[in-house]
């Protein structure tokens, strides 16, 4: 029961991070391997403002979101768009964007190390709270609720508004979306920026209960990628289920075997997805 509740709470936050990557890869078609660093930046902002000014991480969220949106939009316009324009095939774009975002991720890590080279340790709402007979820290619950609220808002936007529909149209086919009068480049830039903002906010939330440091981004990138692939690229519903599943398995492995093996567990899941369902949990096999 302990495992179930902690696992689901962790999975909720993972779902938010994977949603960010899904918007970037599923819609803008940019494999962003600096995704984890964006997350750690969100965590660093929370840590910094909490230690220096005593600002609550929940308030930081409202600061991080617009900043990350603007930053990611600029990254797309300045660094990614030239790659999109010169790429002849999706394969070439993948290689270019992978290399370019690797560069960005190392630059982010290098900058964060010079800002704060140690663990981002702070304590916010670390009080015990009990649900269904299980004791969890309040910060985990708060992060989960915030993640659900943001995720629900994004889903509402995607499925109930006109601009959200345009984003989904681009994720289905850039060519067809262009034919029906959608400005694909603008929607892609927008989706990339929203995705970055969602990831950074996820990082702010996660930093309340997981101690981050500058070099941890790559592990979160891996996890987000595993979730997105397991759920099926562009499939939000699949990603949510996959995130909850990963949260559960990781918590189970950490509790029963060893906390050092969570990445190994994630790899086992990844490997079985690649072997048995490379098209995602709910995806149909391409013919």
């Amino acid at each position: 029961m302990d495992i179930l509740i902690s696992g689901l709470l962790l999975g909720g936050t993972y779902a938010l991070i994977a949603m960010g990557l899904n918007l970037q890869y599923g819609v803008a078609r940019i494999m962003n391997l600096a995704n984890g660093e964006m997350l750690v930046l969100g965590g660093l902002a929370a840590f910094w403002l909490f230690v220096a000014d005593g600002l609550s991480p929940i308030a930081t969220v409202f600061l991080v979101a617009p900043l990350a949106f603007a930053g990611n939009w600029l990254i797309y316009r300045l660094l990614i768009r030239p790659l999109v324009r010169r790429a002849k095939t999706q394969g070439q774009l993948d290689v270019d964007s992978i290399l370019s975002t690797f560069g960005m991720s190392f630059i982010f890590v290098g900058l964060m190390v010079t800002i704060h080279g140690e663990y981002f340790t702070y304590s916010y709402l670390a009080d015990p709270f009990s649900i269904l007979g299980t004791t969890v820290a309040v910060n985990r619950l708060v992060a989960f609720i915030a993640a659900v609220a943001i995720g629900a808002a994004i889903c509402f936007w995607l499925y109930r508004t006109q601009s959200g529909t345009a984003v989904r149209a681009v994720s289905v086919s850039t060519e067809a979306a262009g034919l029906v009068g959608i400005n694909v480049e603008r929607v892609s830039a927008f989706a990339f920026a929203i995705g970055g903002a969602v990831t950074a906010v996820g990082g702010t939330l996660i930093s309340t209960f997981i101690t981050l440091d500058a070099s941890m981004g790559v592990i979160f990138t891996m996890k987000a990628l595993i979730i997105v692939i397991m759920g099926g690229v562009g499939d939000i519903r699949g990603a949510i289920i996959a995130a909850l599943l990963l949260g559960l398995v990781e918590t189970a492995v950490a509790t029963i075997i060893d906390p050092g093996l969570t990445l190994v567990a994630a790899y086992v899941i990844f490997l079985s997805v690649l072997l048995f369902r490379p098209q995602g949990l709910f995806g149909r096999r391409a013919s």
Binding site: L79, G91, V95, G103, G110, V218, L261, F270
Partner: protein
Amino acid sequence: MSRGEAIGLMLAIIVVAVAAVLPLILDGYWLSVALTAMMYVALATSWTLFSGPTRYLSLATGAFFGIGGYLVGLGMSDYGLSFWLMAAIAPVVATALALLIGLATLRLSGVYFVIFTLGLAEMIRNLVSWIQNNFLGSRGLYVLTDFTDADIYWMLLAVSVAIFALGWWINRSRLGFALRIIGSDEEVAKHVGIDTAWSKVVLFMVTGFFAALIGALVAPRYSYIEPNVVFSPELSFIVVVMALLGGIHRLWGPLVGVIPFTLIWEGITISFPNYTTLFLGFSFLLIVYFLPHGVVGLMQSLVRRVGR
């Protein structure tokens, strides 16, 4: 043998001869820099054997290299086995692992393969640390041999020559031809009847074999082996940057990238140790935006422009 090939062979012999006498001239610090450079020449060239023609970016180098170093340490320290035996076993283990990874990921698109190899070194490090702490006892592993830096350098030189010879042979073989078709268009390759998955897996095994062999040969240099040090994700990225910087369309391209990069890297490590990550990041951006075909590609297009 054509005239061009004869000249190429002559040049290669001269370069190898010069490289072979270097340890007699250099000592201390510069010998260790030369040793590092030779290690990266071998790693980057063997990386290019697979990633060059197929355009599948492999980040598994650190994992295979770590397997080489770790197995040598484990065998010598805990089981009293000889260095040579372990240096022979380690590449076989890495090749088997490469086979499994290749079968699981190389049938799918290149993105999945990159992602899978991205966390591989870290994952194996976690797994090995756990096994060592729980089952083997957490003693350190020692690799004590009487090899000098010069000996290790010569061994790596021999391995590099072997890699170049193999690369030359593959380029001329049916396999190399098949790989080039896969790299330019995988669909076409499938339609002309190339077993694309199998060709990629075989080449990936070759890079795995060499990375582990190099890791094993370099292990005596560090004497003390710890999983946290030998399984270095950073190594995989350095190798990628070096190879792409030089250019991966020629067998000797990576060589052009390795030597300047090693010198700059050593300089930064000594003078500004906190900025190596930043430097690595900017190198990636430099390659993507200004040197998409590497230094060799840039020189070739310059030569072509002048010749016109």
